[in-house]
């Protein structure tokens, strides 16, 4: 049902031709079906607008319409099909353009990516973690420091060993694993630490145990001795009559802990006779008749 063409264009009855053209252009820009390919109502709207403009935009037809000689319905002319009807049809469109999404990759890639037809559902994936083994000297593990790990591809990874690192501990280096997929973050490098045993030290938890040979004289009379610890030698007092198997504790001379404190070192004494026979010691012992010697052995048997 055609409405008043003046109303359609939104102009007054006495509007100038120029004002009518201006109104038509403004509405046509907004409602032309080819500038609104997805809006089905635009077509009807534009049909009304162009019909109104056909009447009012024509200096011959407009006065006749004003006088009532022709009506609005007569002004409707058959309209050719719009460009959008063909352009949207696809296949045989010689003007078809993929430029609007060419940066997504080609169309096949676009769809296979979106739907993972070949199992490529995870567009963004964190890279895989990589596992390495690193063998450390006993003291390097306890005191910490920098180590270099040579990877299978020949590159070198700097690994910071925290003080007090344990055998079997796994160090995680963030982002040093395989690269991510589709912009995902890289994985981590997981480094399992293997600590080589030490010649004299053993570790139990955060404590260090060491066996210290002392001379017969030191054991009997007591005195100051030098004791190795993981951070260097220290002086320790051996009390009088310290027997083999006696355990002395060196406080905070063990393994460093993350909070800055340290475990202890336990020193087990081992009384040693001189390496080479000492005739003077032999003479002295020959004159010495300890009453308790037999009893000592009895105790051991039991």
């Amino acid at each position: 049902m055609p409405t008043d063409p003046y109303q359609t264009l939104g102009v007054s009855k006495d509007a100038s031709q120029e004002a009518i053209q201006k109104a038509y252009r403004r509405l046509a820009k907004k409602f032309h079906p080819d500038l609104n390919p997805g809006n089905k109502q635009a077509e009807d709207k534009f049909k009304d607008i162009s019909a109104a403009y056909d009447l009012l935009g024509d200096p011959q037809k407009r006065p006749r319409f004003d006088r009532g000689e022709i009506d609005a319905s007569g002004a409707e002319r058959p309209r050719q099909r719009y460009y959008r009807d063909f352009a949207d049809a696809g296949t045989s469109n010689p003007y078809a353009s993929d430029d609007g999404f060419a940066d997504f990759g080609n169309a096949e890639d676009l769809f296979s990516e979106v739907f993972g037809r070949r199992g490529r559902t995870n567009l963004r994936m964190r890279g895989q973690d990589v596992h390495y083994n690193l063998e450390l000297d006993f003291l390097d593990a306890i005191n910490g420091g920098k180590q270099q790990l040579t990877l299978p591809d020949g590159s070198v990874l700097d690994v910071a060993i925290p003080p007090g690192t344990r055998d079997g501990q796994v160090l995680r280096l963030r982002g040093k694993g395989r690269p991510g997929i589709g912009g995902g973050p890289p994985g981590d490098a997981l480094i399992e630490i293997h600590v080589r045993p030490h010649r004299i030290f053993t570790r139990k938890g955060d404590d260090i145990h060491v066996e210290l040979p002392v001379s017969l004289r030191e054991a009997v009379l007591g005195g100051k001795v030098r004791v190795p610890t993981p951070s260097g030698e220290v002086t320790m007092s051996v009390p009088k009559w310290a027997n083999t198997g006696a355990v002395l504790r060196l406080k905070a001379r063990g393994v460093p802990r993350p909070d800055g404190s340290r475990g202890d070192e336990y020193v087990t004494l081992k009384v040693m006779l001189p390496e080479t026979p000492d005739p003077e010691l032999e003479r002295f012992i020959a004159q010495w008749r300890p009453a308790a010697a037999e009893r000592e052995r009895e105790t051991t048997k039991a």
Partner: protein, 101 residues
Amino acid sequence: METREFLSAARIDAAMMTAWIEAGWLGPHCKSGEFLDIDVARAGLIRDLTDIGVNDEGIPVILNLVDQLHGLRRALHEVVLAVRAQPETRRSRVSRPDSPY
């Protein structure tokens, strides 16, 4: 269709047709004098654009954007069809913008 039929269907004259083909607004296939229905519709669009005050500089800009828009509409249409073909469980995941998949 042939040139004469094209000119009458598109309601333009031969000089306009030649100029539009020269400018690339109508495709190179039009040089052979063979026209498609889409060429008529495209010529109608160019005529409408001229009518609403778009100048010669603006026409190719609009045509290019309109063609890109149709390319995107086709692609989107395929996407919609493909989503519809998915089982409901996967479809509901596709429709959730915060889903990581």
